[in-house]
């Protein structure tokens, strides 16, 4: 009990003595735990809202799309074994919608003003369709920034325009103004911006929104009434059988093309596919968040290891004092570990809270489902995983330095003798041929190979994140799948900014720890005739050389990361951007390390050289 009290007291005192460092540690670990929490909270976040929406809207088990002008086709489906209810067929017409400065392609579905037995969209604001009044799918309305009472203009879509062309160039005629009667959710199509297509009728138009209006209003938007397709919603006795029901009736995927454009095949979409489509947006975000969380956790390990290593160099006399008054090596290690474990626990709690609070910002896309905002929950397993990762980061980074410090000779520790540096004869020989600043830089770097590895890893991880973010940006610039790419880009941007911030802190830590660690050799070099600039540039070079290696390694790392985050992605960043990342990284690291290197090179020489005698 007494020992535990002592360990706690010493750890608390040391944390209070260096609040700045404790805060930096906290931020480094909390960044990783926040992103990890977000990734875990988003897991399955859309499953329950989809179920709720399906129940509230009498969602179809199978949505069928086709030319249902022939009643036998309708009867073939509504009278099929296992079908217990149906609604429709409802006409579906593609149109151009203008609202709030946006011009987008919308899929309009002509509905009855009366309630339907299957797929009756549930208004979350306002009411249901009426003549001249339209209802927008909730996520679509949110993206456009419109609500009940606002006006939108609907124009017929020129069928000759190719999907992917700007919607404004594909509109025909002046169109007609409608009042927004309401905003509703449905389980018959995934929410916007996932192409909100009823039974896959979007035909290649990404980011298609869904609008309900009366049958007459919908048909008025069709340039040719004979080409209008319809949607038929089916309810099965056994919803689980929807997949088999659809598969049995759908044309083979690689089958022959339809022989007549006037008789397109009927396509059936089971509810499970709609559910998966609903989760599609968040799936990529979640993948990006989880990958980002692991990258941040690795970076946090590097941050904490560098910080701990630097502090150990500073704490060696304290360790000696502890041991001199009877502290066992285990006690010394326990004190050092306890500090970082406490910080890790606080960081885990911070990450859980921040992740829980910010999760709704990433699930905006699911506003098209009922109850999605309230679906975020931090389960016991999420809390356990996040806490375990935070503790693992602290232990992984602290254990080796703590054990090493606990084993340091008491006499040496009391004399504040620095840990003996590593020797690399080959590097020393090579460096003799270099200018003084590079000679110093190479020799300083060679003294602490572990620190060099941490610095390389830190930069490589960060550059990987930057390359992935550039890829998302390139995807956005190419216009492919705009809304989805935009959201993924935002997630990756947040992760990359966090990575860059952590890496910047790392670079400063490493530089500071190196300056501290080499204060004796720097002072000695100056006593032997090295100028402060040479020593300063040498310290910077010791950081820049690993940064160069890390930046080069980060490029293939980033390309691999793109594949992990979004396996479907084919857009790579432009070559010039990939090439520019390397010198940009080196310049930033040089700038970041300049101040610690400069202050390290200007410490009073006599004082440092005399301190060994103290």
């Amino acid at each position: 009990m007494g020992r535990a009290l002592l360990v706690g007291r010493l750890a608390a005192r040391d944390l209070r003595r260096r609040p700045g460092e404790a805060l930096l540690l906290l931020l480094a670990i909390a960044a990783a735990t926040t992103v990890l929490t977000l990734g875990l909270v988003l897991h399955g976040v859309l499953d329950k809202p989809f179920e709720r929406t399906r129940a509230a809207t009498a969602g179809p088990d199978v949505a069928a799309a086709g030319a249902f002008s022939d009643a036998t086709k309708v009867r073939a489906l509504t009278g099929a074994a296992g079908v217990v209810a149906h609604s429709g067929p409802y006409p579906v017409v593609a149109a151009v919608l203008e609202a709030n400065g946006h011009t987008v392609v919308a899929q309009t579905e002509g509905r009855d003003t009366a309630k339907a037995a299957v797929d009756q969209p549930k208004p979350t604001k306002g009411g249901w369709v009426r003549p001249g009044g339209v209802v927008l799918e909730a996520a679509f309305a949110e993206a456009l920034g419109v609500g009940p009472g606002d006006r939108v203009v609907m124009k017929p879509l020129d069928a000759r325009g190719a999907p992917g062309q700007p919607p404004s160039t594909r509109a025909r005629g002046p169109g007609r103004s409608f009042r927004v009667a309401g905003v509703a959710v449905t389980a018959a199509a995934p929410p916007y911006p996932e192409a909100a297509c009823l039974a896959n009728l979007c035909q290649g138009d990404a980011d298609t929104g869904l609008v309900w209006l009366t049958r007459a209003d919908a048909l008025a938007l069709a340039p040719d009434k004979h080409d209008v397709l319809s949607v038929l919603n089916l309810k099965l006795a056994d919803p689980a059988a929807a997949l088999a029901f659809a598969a049995h009736r759908n044309p083979p995927r690689n089958g022959p093309a339809p022989t007549s454009a006037s008789d397109p095949p009927t396509i059936l979409q089971p509810w499970q596919e709609i559910r998966d489509g609903s989760a599609n947006i968040v799936r990529n975000q979640r993948r990006a968040l989880l990958t980002g969380a692991w990258l941040l956790a690795l970076l946090a390990v590097a941050s904490v290891a560098v910080l701990v290593g630097g502090r150990m160099a500073d704490q060696i006399r304290r360790v000696g004092l502890l041991k001199a008054v009877g502290g066992t090596p285990a006690l010394v290690a326990a004190v050092l570990l306890a500090e970082y474990l406490v910080v890790a626990l606080v960081a885990a709690a911070t990450g859980l809270a921040v992740g829980w609070l910010t999760a709704p910002l990433l699930t905006d896309a699911s506003a098209g489902l009922l109850g999605s905002a309230g679906a975020r929950t931090v389960t016991l397993s999420t809390a356990a995983i996040v806490t375990a990762v935070a503790l693992a980061v602290a232990v992984a980074a602290t254990l080796v330095p703590a054990i090493r410090a606990s084993r340091t000779s008491t006499v040496l520790a009391l004399a504040d003798a620095a840990r003996p540096p590593r020797r690399s004869g080959r590097l020393i020989a090579i460096s003799a041929r270099l200018p003084v600043a590079l000679l110093r830089g190479l020799r300083v770097a060679a003294r602490r190979p572990r620190r060099v590895v941490l610095a390389i890893a830190s930069i490589a991880i960060t550059v990987s994140g930057i390359v992935a973010a550039l890829s998302a940006h390139a995807d956005l610039a190419s216009g492919a799948n705009d809304a989805r790419a935009h959201q993924l880009n935002q997630v990756l941007l947040v992760i990359t900014i966090t990575l860059v911030a952590l890496a910047a802190v790392n670079a400063i830590f490493v530089s500071w720890a190196t300056a501290l660690d080499t204060k004796h050799s720097s002072a000695l070099s100056r006593a032997l005739g090295a100028t402060p600039q040479q020593v300063s540039v040498g310290l910077s070079a010791a950081q820049v050389l690993p940064a160069l290696a890390g930046a080069i390694l980060g490029i293939p790392g980033g390309i691999a990361l793109i594949g992990i985050v979004d396996p479907d992605k084919t857009t790579m960043p432009p070559l010039w951007q990939l090439v520019a990342v390397v010198p940009a990284t080196v310049i930033v690291v040089a700038a970041l390390t300049a101040i610690p290197a400069r202050s390290g090179a200007r410490r009073p020489v006599a004082e440092i050289l005399q301190s060994e005698l103290a």
């Binding site: 003084v436 000679l439 020799r443 004796h520 032997l528 005739g529 090295a530 402060p532 020489v605 060994e612």
Partner: protein, 252 residues
């Protein structure tokens, strides 16, 4: 020897005027040095003695440009250095001053040979020239057989001899030695004394700060310090020294 170098040699290698060094302020003000006037001639060996804390090491640091005085002037070979920039001071140390420290201050990760060649590399000499000079110096101090050893594999006396060889790397005008035998046993002390004596015989200017009267006895002149000021100056007759070992009472 060029005309410039002849002029340099004619000047006192070290000179101070009204040198003072203060630390702290108000009630905590400490006068580490006060009104120090000093001249060290070319080729002279000067010993500075005094109790701990009397300002000996501070004087050495000021003379070597490692610290700046609070007041007064410091001249090295006719050039005032107390107002020089850090860069200029570094260049001066590189070529004009060699340091020998009580704690040796060798780089742990460098071998004896690599430690000795370091000042030459810092001065921009070619790696080959620096290596040749370092080998010569190690031979001069009797350690050519230990050239490839790390400091941790050397005895205290050997380390200090490496440090002295390093101080001589760039043929400095003056070697400033701070308690060069302070960490050594008797036998090692004798080795270092012999080495310093051979340097003096070769005309190397030396300023040695020491507690050890036996070392002081080998100098041309002895200055005694107390409370940051010179209190006594004695000119020694080196003709009477005879065998160094006899004088200092050391036996091999």
């Amino acid at each position: 020897m060029s005309a410039d170098e002849s002029t340099l040699r004619a000047e006192p290698v070290l000179r101070t005027r009204g040198l003072a060094m203060h630390y702290g302020q108000g009630a905590g003000l400490v006068h580490a040095l006060e009104g120090v006037e000093l001249e060290v001639a070319n080729g002279e060996t000067l010993a500075v003695m005094g109790p701990s804390g009397c300002g000996k090491s501070t004087l050495l640091h000021l003379l070597g440009g490692l610290e700046r005085p609070s007041e007064g002037e410091v001249w090295v070979a006719g050039r005032r250095i107390d107002r020089l920039s850090e860069k200029a001071l570094a260049r001066l140390r590189r070529h004009a001053i060699g340091f020998v420290f009580q704690a040796f201050h060798l780089m742990d990760e460098l071998t004896a040979l690599e430690n000795v060649e370091l000042p030459a590399l810092l001065a921009g000499h070619s790696p080959g020239a620096a290596r040749r000079r370092a080998s010569e110096l190690l031979e001069q101090v009797g350690l050519n057989d230990r050239a490839g050893h790390l400091p941790s594999a050397l005895s205290g006396g050997q380390r200090q001899r490496v440090a002295i060889a390093r101080a001589l790397s760039n043929e400095p005008l003056v070697v400033l030695a701070d308690e060069p035998t302070g960490n050594l046993d008797s036998a090692a002390t004798l080795d270092v004394l012999r080495l310093l004596d051979s340097l003096r015989a070769a005309g190397q200017s030396l300023l040695i700060v020491t507690h050890d009267e036996r070392i002081a006895a080998t100098a041309d002149r002895l200055i005694t310090m107390r409370d940051g000021a010179f209190v006594e100056e004695t000119r020694l007759t080196r003709g009477t020294t005879g065998s160094l070992g006899d004088l200092v009472g050391l036996e091999r």
